[in-house]
């Protein structure tokens, strides 16, 4: 694993973080971490958010950074990389699920408190993937913000730090993002 991480770090340093070749290649290296992130995102409503998903992102980064003395990985680059990988995951899942799309009415079987109307999840993933792609075309910076906040779970303070925004600007940008998401996602 350490070698792999070292290789990844070198490649990132060489190729640049923005255009890191094929994201799919990088996926296996961080996939298990991303799954943990997903699990925590899932649980955050259930038990109150004592554990921030950001902590997990940072843990993963620290692990990778520690393993790659040859080419240090910047935290903010890593965070944006994670967010992009997560977007790829969304798109992959959307493709996979639309391939075997199933119907079914609104079904409510609820366990504890995770609100769950499993209303054609496959469809909403496709819509989501398309919305993310549209946003990526129209305003890549806003798209990054969306990925980092919603997919990785960065809070507004962290977004401000990474983007070198003031807190108010970060809040305003999140509002803007929310507006566009509603426009792109809702029928």
């Amino acid at each position: 694993m350490n070698d792999e991480v070292g290789d990844l770090a070198e490649r990132l340093a060489r190729e640049g973080y923005g255009e890191a070749g094929s994201l799919r290649e990088l996926l296996p290296l961080v996939y298990s971490d991303l799954k943990r992130i997903a699990h925590f995102q899932l649980l955050r409503h259930v038990r109150g958010s004592t554990m921030s998903t950001t902590v997990l992102v940072h843990e993963t980064w620290a692990r990778l950074a520690g393993a790659s003395a040859r080419a240090p990985i910047e935290r903010e680059h890593f965070v944006s990389l994670c967010a992009r990988v997560m977007r790829q995951v969304v798109i992959d899942h959307a493709r996979a699920s639309s391939a075997e799309k199933r119907g079914g009415g609104a079904v409510h079987v609820e366990l504890q408190d995770a609100a769950a109307t499993a209303e054609a999840p496959a469809h909403s993933l496709v819509v989501l993937a398309e919305a993310l792609e549209s946003l990526q075309d129209a305003d890549p910076r806003l798209a990054r913000l969306v990925e980092q906040h919603w997919l990785i779970g960065l809070e507004v303070e962290e977004l401000a730090e990474i983007h070198h925004f003031s807190l108010r600007t970060a809040q305003r940008e999140l509002k803007r993002a929310r507006a566009w998401l509603a426009e792109l996602l809702l029928p």
Binding site: H93, G104, V109, L111, P121, R176, L181
Partner: protein, 851 residues
Amino acid sequence: MSVRLGSAEFHALDALLQHALDLDTDARARWLQSIEKDQPHRAARLRGMLSAAEDEQSDCLERMLDESLWAALAGDSASGQRFGSWRAIATLAHGGMAQVLLAERADGAFVARAAIKCLWPGLASPALVARFEQERQILARLDDARIARLLDGGVRDDGVPWLALEYVDGTSIDVHCDTLRLDVDARIALWFDVAAAVATAHRHLVVHRDLKPSNILVSREGAVKLLDFGIAKLLDPGDFPHASPPTLQEGRALTRCYASPEQLRGESVTTSSDVYQLGLLLYELATGVQPFRSGTAVMQEKNILEMEPPLASQVVAAGADADQRAHTRAATSARLARRLRGDLDAILATSLAKPVQARYVSVDALCADLVRWRRSEPIHARRSSTLRRVGKWLRRNALAAATVCIVVAISTAYAVNTRLQSIAVAEQAERSRVVGEYLGSWMQQADPGRTAGRDLTAGEMLEDGLERARRDLHDQPGLQAEIFSTVSELRITRGEYALAEPVLREADAIYRSLEDVKPDQRGRSAQGLALLLHLSGRYAEAERMSFDAVGQRTSALGGLAHATLFTRQQLGDVLHTRGRYRQSIDTLERALADAREGLGTADSLTANIARNLGDLYRDVGRKDDAMAQYSYAIDALRASHGEQHKYTVIAEIALGRLKLENGDIKEAAAILESAVPRYARIMHVHVSALTYFDRHLAQVDEMRGNLDAAEQRLGRLADSIAHEFRPEHLLFGYFALDRAFIALARDDMSAASGFLDTAARTFDWVQPDGHPRHAEILLGRALIAHARADPAEVTRLLDQAKVLASRELDPAHDLFEALALARSGDCAGVGPAAPSMPVLRVCRALQASQR
């Protein structure tokens, strides 16, 4: 929406969006209207986008991710997974411990569907596996058509335990009822099915413990199905070695707002918890409101443990969405309130009682009472709960118990006597006096200030009295109006304005129609109405009614009578609220002189009038005069009522405010931080006055420079009364004004501007001719103009402020110094001594904008 957005359209819309985001609420609304004219299509889209932008609570992407991605990722795509002879085809739901998948029979024996409930892979700790096994055993015992059946179950090779449950294609009971707009009776009919299923479980020694709408489905065929015995408990664990009592940690997995008090306390949970939760379900189905739900988990727990739920009959008529909720129940809110009032309220109160032993002993007992209610037969709850409450009250008020006995005896005699035809006039008069005293004594007992808020029974008893008066006293309208007035006055002290108003108006109409009203009753209903209108934020009406009341009182009793002086004090208070400071001072000075003469200086009313007058002196800037009145009032009230009486504490708080506005922060904090909590303790129940006083604690924080703490407290206070009062209520103006100056001190101009607009709306409502407080709003706007380097606007606003302030305020008022400082734009000349509140506010704002 799968259409890709054209780049040009994106940027055009985005430019508009960005512009709108920088505007405050009012400016945004105006600007949107202007866009609407030439770009109607974009304006509509923008409105949608902006409302999504501001709504952090319901975030569509977050919801979408929760519904589809996280579960899919974490579960690593459930579909295709095998569970025995079942194959998963979709994810239905997910929770912290387990997920629920929709599955089909994989062996092709017959077409069947099931909901597979399984632990997340990797989470299968022995404890959780045991709990799964427990649920399986529980379900295997329960065979009731209304409980989702267990079909199959097992443990997979990878150690994941699973259950196959009857798949219910349906919607949760609350959604079902709302969608079909079922009326209360139809809802209760469904509720009976739920209760019967729970009773069956109880007979099998199983407690559900997590009854809530989302666990109760109604199938497409209209049949009720109970789900999720996942945290169910067996009453007799001896039979089942696996059924270990759940720990508190597991208890926390409960949905908080449906937990019973004993569940929250981690005490043993019995069938009584299900009685409680069925009561809660009934309450919510009938009203559309979850009585304990609250913004924070801490508040919610506190509500569940301590708060008596508001009466369902009151809840249905309260809140901005009352009409909507009534509509989904095929009724009007008034009709709904009538339907629930009385017996159903009592049934709910008994089901939701905090102590287990005060609830119905079983689900069957609860159902039996509800059946009686449906047949309009006498219910048990009312009797037992009234008796229980009276008993409680008697235990707490041993000294008053003798009075109660007398009162009960008198009221019984009264009820008998009214049926006799030949009653001497003298006896009638005597009886009126006695009945008045009877009701009056109840009123005093229910006044939270007197009983430290422990007693709530008098309200119910008076309601009985009211009903009886309505029924029996047709031929004695004077006495009837008297009882109506007494009951309403009581309700006003309890903050039940909506309930008090119609009865009081009825009394008022009766009094006005009568020629011979007893002098001490003349003007009573008008005074009550004036107070009610004042407290509930209808100031112009309150002022008119106050003048009317003073006129009636004076002509009936003369100017020096206690009742007249009290009415005059209230008139002074209304004029104060309305910003007519000079007129109010005039009224109160004359009332005080008359009170000194008529009642003496030791009387608490005299002291209270002096305190009121002190408030006026303070607000117009006559600090020494204010101090003199406060000193007298505090001394007199301490002597007559002691330290712990609400009057004394209110006078102390008034003094604390004076010191605070003077800039004596230390002294002010010492007084306020002791007096405000003392007031809260004395009143015990929440009264709106407390909200006024809490605001001063925020001002202490503000003066000390703890701006965050001050802003947070004010925000909380504003939220806490948002549903209680109409937006024109004076309190909202005060909060907004304070928050505006905090925002200015933080150099947050857009927030400040928004708060100033809100304050302006409130004060313009309170006094359309220009409230003196409006000068402070103009000052705030001048400070914003100063930060934007617009000297012409600064001058214009400050001139306006000065003209407005001069109308009511004394030239020595600190506001004038503050206005001058704002004009100079420089605080360098302010001395080292503690600046007054207006001066400090200006200097902080100027400093902030210079940074």
